[in-house]
């Protein structure tokens, strides 16, 4: 059962990810990315990370990607135009991709040859209670810092997107 779900959603995630890269239209890419995120959320659930899964959907799929879609609509971004100017990317792009892919997979196989296996519900450590507890005890400082970061981001965004940039 686990294997089925995993392979299903991993498949969806991979397809959508490839789609993100290959689709010509930003909207399509954005929606595919939403697909990736949704399926990743399901995988998180399988890994026992309920809270993170939910916040993945709420924050990423629900807010960030909506923002992307919004901006794409606002700028009415069309199919992207092709006149490449980066010989670097042309030359090394695909090889680098292959190299990274191969190396990463190699390292995963080599680095974690016999780690445990995942079955749904074999670890309940990711509930809101545990996460919240850890968040407000030992990770309190990072949490506060993040809040400040967000404040800065808000201000920055507002300043940047103002009508007149003087």
């Amino acid at each position: 059962m686990d294997l089925f779900f995993f392979s299903l959603f991993a498949f969806i995630a991979l397809i959508c990810a490839v789609n993100v890269v290959l689709q010509k239209h930003p909207i399509s890419s954005a929606l595919s990315l939403v697909g990736v995120m949704a399926s990743l959320a399901v995988l998180y659930l399988l890994l026992g990370a309920e809270f993170v899964a939910m916040s993945q959907v709420i924050v990423y799929a629900g807010a960030v990607m909506v923002l992307f879609v919004f901006v794409i609509m606002l700028l009415n971004a069309g199919i992207e135009v092709h006149h490449g100017r980066s010989w670097m990317a042309k030359l090394l792009g695909f090889p680098a991709f292959l190299a990274i892919l191969g190396l990463l997979c190699f390292f995963v196989q080599r680095g974690f040859p016999n780690v445990g296996s995942v079955r749904f519900g074999d670890w309940e450590g990711g509930g809101a209670q545990q996460v919240g507890y850890a968040l407000f005890t030992e990770y309190l400082l990072p949490f506060e810092v993040t809040s400040v970061l967000i404040l800065i981001a808000i201000i920055g965004a507002i300043v940047l997107a103002r009508k007149e940039l003087d």
Binding site: I27, L31, V34, E50, F51, A53, M54, S55, V57, I58, A61, G62, A63, V66, L67, V69, F70, M73, L74, N76, G127, A128
Partner: protein, 406 residues
């Protein structure tokens, strides 16, 4: 296996009831608005226009689905599907009553049961978060519709709706968060159960009354945000007829058009149920059964039946003589069911839950019939300058109270 069967049965039941409800909500809305505006409302098709929804559905189905040439094919069709899907998903995790216990039955020598199940499709630990997540995904339907139909009004509608939904999600989530502090659970059923009991024997411990932090403000904020989230008047900027023709669904027709409406009504129902569960104590009665809250339901139906009977006996319109007694009989039957002892523990909570949801829905319709529409900048500044700070403050105060008051 047994679980699967029961779930399937529940699924079928809920789907059927819910769909009809959606269809008839339309009728109710039209009726209510009509009476607010001192009109008759639908009254041709069937007695009191009761068959109007059916007619509408037939009409919408049989209509030809026009697909404009300039639209962006795939997404144009995907959008309504997404909208409905996201709207319906959240219903599946909403509990609407206590447990159902079916005693073992002997049938053809085989014993079935005893069966025990909860009045909900799925019980999710993170119910509240799930609701939020799904509702936040709901934007895509509208936004896509607006964008893909390749029409400036539609696009404007889509943009508006996405901006509006993002903006109003914050106060909504904050307003939802504060009762969670008192309930101490993310599971909708747990939250509802945490509001059981009464102060002084008659004041219900619903979140809006619950000590140490009554959530009345949170409730109000939640309802306001809910109006915006469901694109209802006075926040229906995305489909503002007089500015954007019909907003994001200007290019849609027949079934696709209908599905947007379905989505909107489904969202309304969901939001009202969530509000009921979080703030109005779910299926907890308004006053304790000791003071006879169990007899409210039968009494009401009995009263309705009697009124129908009376009007049937001296009718205002000729056909009332035939229709109203039928209703009377139906109502009497319902009253009987409600009063039937074995069913009381099942039906009374259900009744209370539905009553509260119904009331909230009525408020929705009522407001639609009453209030004019916001201007867009007003809408935004209201969200960011008033609603959001208010929700934040409320959450802060609640936190302090919960932390300080033992």
């Amino acid at each position: 296996m047994e679980f699967l069967v029961i779930t399937l049965i529940k699924l079928a039941l809920i789907t059927f009831i819910f769909m009809t409800t959606l269809a008839y909500l339309q009728w109710v809305e039209r009726k209510v608005i009509a009476h607010v505006q001192v009109r008759m409302g639908p009254s041709r098709v069937g007695p009191h226009g009761l068959l109007q929804p059916l007619a509408d559905v037939i009409k919408l189905i049989t209509k030809e689905g026009v697909m404009p040439p300039h639209v962006n094919g795939g997404y144009y069709l995907l959008a309504p599907f997404l909208a409905v899907f996201m709207a319906l998903i959240s219903i599946s995790i909403i509990p609407f009553g206590g447990a159902i216990d079916i005693p073992a039955i002997q049938l053809a020598g085989k014993t079935f049961g005893p069966y025990h199940t909860m009045m909900e499709l799925a019980s999710v630990n993170m119910g509240v978060l799930m609701i939020l997540a799904v509702s936040s995904m709901g934007v895509y339907g509208i936004a896509l519709a607006g964008w893909s139909s390749n029409n400036k009004y539609a696009l404007l509608g889509g943009l508006r709706s996405s901006a509006q939904m993002i903006s109003y999600e914050l106060p909504m989530s904050l307003a939802i968060a504060s009762p969670l502090l008192t309930a101490g659970s993310l599971q909708l059923r747990g939250i509802a159960d945490s509001q059981a009991g009464f102060y002084l024997g008659f004041v219900p411990k619903w979140a809006i009354f619950q000590m140490p932090a009554p959530q009345i403000f949170a409730f109000i904020i939640f309802m306001i945000a809910a109006f915006a989230e469901t694109n209802r008047i006075p926040f229906d900027l995305p489909e503002a007829e007089n500015e954007l023709v019909a907003g994001f669904h200007v290019e849609y027709s027949s079934m696709t058009f209908a599905s947007f409406f379905m989505a909107e009504y489904a969202n309304m129902v969901t939001v009202c149920s969530v509000g009921t569960l979080l703030f109005l104590g779910g299926w907890q009665p308004l006053w304790p059964a000791a003071l006879g809250s169990n007899f409210v339901a039968p009494a009401i139906f009995l009263g309705a039946g009697l009124i129908c009977l009376y009007h049937g006996l001296n009718p205002a319109r000729p056909f009332d003589r035939y229709t109203l007694p039928v209703f009377a009989v139906v109502f009497f039957g319902l009253a009987g069911l409600m009063a039937f002892p074995p069913l009381v523990p099942v039906l009374t909570p259900l009744f209370w839950f539905l009553a509260k949801v119904g009331f909230l829905l009525f408020v929705f319709i009522w407001i639609r019939a009453t209030l004019p529409r916001f201007r867009y900048d007003q809408l935004m500044s209201f969200a960011w300058k008033f609603l959001f700070p208010a929700a934040l403050l409320n959450l802060l105060v609640t936190g302090f109270l919960v932390a300080l008051v033992p």
